[in-house]
């Protein structure tokens, strides 16, 4: 079974690599969007190919592990979890890609006061913090750290829920910002979705380590 352990370790490393790439993609997309930096946005778009290649590699490795090593117990949970985590990370990278596309394709800088009114920086900082938490939880197999993500997601939900009213007020003040406001609204929605995906990853880490299904349950 030494070979199985070796294959599992490789897969674990690929999972960590995917986590690192997707975190970096999202952070770069944030900077590109905040600063309207189309060069950085182009970099994110180009890097999407790497994310997709790694996604396929992990999928193939999972299939191979399932077929050849008949995993059970913690090994089975690991494979089940890594497949879902991989899927969620790929979706997160897709959101980073879409945000970067806005930067490249839409030639409009978002007025800074809109970012402030929507607590955009706080939303992004929360996401970065959540990504740090799941990276730590994944690397150290620490469910306590994974659970911390659930509380953070509520901050994102609140900002997202408030965003409609905030933008409505801002548009009423100045109706020349409609297109920028709509663009920002769309990014806020994507960010909220990223928060949900990170929450899913935390749930998978808990399932993998503790065999506890926390999906669809009220989180403390």
């Amino acid at each position: 079974m030494a070979n199985a352990q070796y294959q599992r370790d490789l897969l674990n490393e690929s999972g960590a690599e995917m986590l690192a790439i997707c975190t970096s993609q999202l952070e770069k997309a944030k900077d590109a969007f905040l600063n309207h930096d189309s060069d950085l946005a182009e970099e994110v778009i180009l890097n999407e190919v790497r994310v997709n290649a790694l996604d396929l590699r992990i999928e193939k490795s999972c299939e191979k592990f399932l077929a050849l090593y008949n995993p059970v117990a913690i090994d089975l949970r690991f494979i089940m979890a890594i497949r879902k985590i991989n899927f969620d990370l790929e979706r997160i990278a897709d959101h980073a890609y879409s945000i970067s596309k806005y930067v490249v394709e839409v030639d409009e800088k978002i007025p800074p006061h809109l970012f402030k009114a929507l607590q955009f920086q706080e939303m992004y900082d929360t996401i970065v913090n959540m990504l740090e938490k799941i990276t730590e939880a994944y690397e150290n197999k620490d469910v306590k750290v994974a659970r911390k993500v659930f509380k953070k997601d509520k901050i994102l939900d609140k900002i997202n829920a408030d965003s409609f009213a905030v933008l409505e007020t801002e548009i009423k003040k100045d109706n020349n910002i409609i297109s920028e406001a709509l663009l920002l609204f769309s990014v806020i929605k994507k960010m909220e979705r990223v928060g949900d995906l990170i929450k899913n990853i935390a749930e998978e880490i808990i399932f993998y380590i503790d065999a506890e299904v926390v999906k669809h349950k009220k989180k403390k």
Binding site: M1, A4, Q5, N70, P71, V72, A73, I74, D75, L76, R77, A211
Partner: protein
């Protein structure tokens, strides 16, 4: 091998009154209760105090590394260890409430109730028909119709009928390994046991024959209580309802198979089933 033949002969030759030859589905569902059982071979303590309840009409798999005591434990249920020199046992094993180690027990009658299938197929050097009919004839059943009906029924139960119906007079030794093993199971069923013990019944078979025997085991639990020793983890997870993990003569964990193979309680069990030791 000689001991195995002796056990089989004793099983099939156990005398039963004709009025007791009834449909196995009408028989009492068999449960096994084990209370603080300890076994020694001379000074070696092979089983160190095991409690276990086996439910009727279930398949229970015994797993564990070689020498952990799982086969010794299985063989207690039809008193096969009685033949081993230096064998000594403490504790109680009850089948349907009766202590099978009490002095007055009729061991031959017990073995008729608790059939055994061994690792290697061991048909008698007789025809296919005679192999299944042997036990019935020895029990004094002379009615050809009853014997024929029982043989056909048992061969059908083990899904061998379609393969051998035109060759019933052919020697059983000419059958393939998988067919021989299914014939041995049919021979066990012919004397209408309520419990079937299987000691690595597919370890000598190819994957196709293994699949057929596994399918058979799954089907047989409707009528019988089955206990199987296996070294094949996937087999245990595929066919059993409950799994018991033994290590160094102790029962480490006994639980629903789904629990054992998805989230075992004990670290030792997880280490064994994931191949990290053993």
């Amino acid at each position: 091998m000689a001991k195995e033949i002796k056990i089989i002969m004793e099983t099939v030759t156990a005398q039963i009154p004709l009025d007791k030859i009834i449909d196995p589905s009408l028989k009492k569902k068999a449960k096994i209760e084990v209370k603080d059982v300890k076994v020694w071979y001379e000074d070696f303590n092979a089983i160190k105090g095991i409690d276990m309840n086996i439910k009727p009409n279930t398949v229970t798999a015994f797993i564990g590394p070689s020498g952990c005591g799982k086969s010794t434990f299985l063989r207690l249920f039809n008193r096969m260890n009685d033949y081993v020199e230096g064998f000594r046992m403490e504790g109680k094993i009850k089948v349907n409430g009766d202590n099978i180690y009490k002095k007055k027990i009729n061991v031959e009658e017990l073995r008729k109730e608790i059939g055994m299938v061994f690792q290697k197929p061991n048909p008698f050097p007789k025809s296919i028909f005679e192999n299944v009919a042997y036990g019935l004839k020895i029990q004094g059943i002379t009615d050809k119709k009853i014997i024929e009906e029982r043989v056909i029924d048992c061969l059908k139960q083990v899904a061998l009928w379609d393969e051998v119906k035109d060759d019933l007079k052919k020697s059983a030794m000419a059958l393939s390994g998988g067919q021989q093993q299914r014939l041995c199971i049919a021979r066990t069923l012919a004397v209408q046991p309520s419990i079937i013990l299987m000691d690595e019944p597919t370890s000598a078979l190819d994957p196709i024959s293994t699949a057929k025997v596994e399918e058979l085991i799954f089907k047989l639990k409707e009528k019988y209580t089955i206990v199987i020793v296996t070294h094949n983890m996937q087999q245990a997870s595929r066919i059993s309802d409950y799994t018991a993990f033994f290590y160094l003569g102790e029962l480490v964990e006994y639980n629903k198979t789904k629990t054992i193979f998805t989230n075992p309680e004990k670290q030792q069990t997880e280490n064994y089933i994931t191949g990290r030791f053993g």
